[in-house]
């Protein structure tokens, strides 16, 4: 039997995390290939609804990456993100979905190695959790 390979959706902000991901690629850092990156202008433009919808449709993990606090291109964008996503994590916990399926982290444009670390760690975490239980649930 083959090992479970999670499908992971990553939202990367255009100014820091996407450039960080780019740097990781250019530096040829090895990463698990489970991550599908969506490029957004700011981590605050990732509505929590997107993460909720992805998880309820069976995505195994959602990764939201933004600039470090204080470095946001739009001044306060990532402050908002930092306040919204913990609430979503708690709500997921309340209905019985593990909150580690949603992770919020900060990666700057110079941190290719951190991007690699975050992705590798997250894929490991989600592998340990197993497939998203909602994938099997038919409403």
């Amino acid at each position: 039997m083959t090992e479970f390979e999670p499908t992971i959706l990553a939202f990367c902000c255009n100014w820091c995390s996407y450039a960080g991901a780019d740097l990781a690629g250019v530096s040829r850092l090895q990463m698990p290939p489970n991550v599908h990156i969506v490029r957004v202008m700011c981590s605050a433009s990732v509505k929590p609804e997107y993460a909720i919808k992805a998880i309820s449709q069976g995505i195994d993990g959602v990764l939201v990456l933004g600039c470090h606090i204080g470095d946001c291109h739009y001044m306060t964008g990532n402050h908002r993100t930092a306040k919204r996503f913990p609430v979503v994590q708690k709500l997921l916990e309340d209905v019985g979905i593990d909150k580690t399926r949603l992770r919020l982290d900060w990666v700057s444009a110079a941190e290719g190695e951190k991007f690699q670390k975050v992705v590798t760690e997250f894929v490991e975490d989600v592998k340990r959790l197993g497939p998203n239980p909602l994938k099997e649930v038919r409403f």
Binding site: P48, R80, K83, L91, G96
Partner: protein, 260 residues
């Protein structure tokens, strides 16, 4: 007794209350001097929902509202967002009966001024919530998926909600909730809970109006508990801005964007 209180003592022009009429009970607006139907105070209904609908049409008139504690909190949330002028809505405090408090598992039942009824004792914690939180997460998920499967997307919870006031409802966006497909799935309820997390007053109207009997109030109470634990936020408080939208510490609130 109620008309004198509203029109003479408080100086209102209109009164909104639950009244008997046509063999049923419903929200009725009475103007000053009009003959009044029998007012019922034992019927739980969020009159603030009606208020937000008629508010644009009452002009500069003052409206007296039969107001429970949850109505008061909902009004505070509306005022915070600049949707209702505090001076034009006069409150007639209504204390809930013990049965009503029990049905809502209400922890804060007494309005700031009581005109009608005797103040009741707050009920204890939500038993179902504690039972669910003590369960392992797989069983909790099983419980909620079984409940959400009953949903037939009738939008009764949204229509009767006193704090649902967005012009474009996110649940009507096809990106998040598919046009076809009943039941709508997990995301419908989670998105709604997230949207209400910074304003839900725990009135229980969603649970009362749900034809499928989903324990929505328990879900709201869970979210309220989380908001309290994370940001110390309790809806209906004096803070001028939602904790989910706040700016940097110490920055003026006028810089806040209320669009997103």
């Amino acid at each position: 007794m109620l008309p004198e209180l509203a029109f003479d003592k408080l100086g209102a022009d209109l009164l909104l209350a639950m009244c008997e009429g046509h063999g049923n009970v419903g929200p009725i607006v009475i103007s000053k001097g009009e003959k009044m139907a029998k007012v019922r105070t034992d019927v739980p209904y969020q009159l603030v929902t009606i208020l937000t609908n008629i508010y644009p049409f009452i002009g500069q008139k003052k409206l007296a509202l039969l107001c429970r504690r949850c109505d008061e909190k909902a009004l505070a949330e509306l005022e915070k967002r600049g949707l209702v002028d505090e001076k034009r809505v006069l409150r007639i405090g209504l204390a809930c009966s013990a049965d009503q408090i029990k049905a809502c598992r209400c922890s804060d039942p007494v309005p700031s001024v009581v005109h009608i009824g005797a103040p009741g004792k707050p009920a204890g914690e939500d038993e179902l919530m504690n039972k669910l939180l003590a369960m392992p997460s797989e069983e909790r998920l099983k419980f909620w998926t079984a409940q959400f499967r009953k949903c037939n997307k009738c939008f009764a919870c949204t229509l009767n909600c006193p704090v649902c006031f967005c012009d474009d409802c996110v649940l009507e966006e096809r990106t998040f909730v598919a046009e076809k497909g009943i039941p709508p799935g997990m995301s419908f309820h989670l998105i709604r809970t997230f949207h209400l997390s910074d304003k839900c007053v725990e009135c229980g109207e969603c649970e009362r109006s749900c034809p499928a009997g989903i324990p929505l109030l328990t879900l709201r109470k869970m979210a309220a508990k989380d908001m309290k634990a994370l940001y110390g936020f309790v809806s209906g408080d004096k803070k001028k801005v939602s904790p989910l939208l706040t700016t940097l510490e110490g920055e003026p609130m006028e810089d806040e964007c209320h669009e997103c």
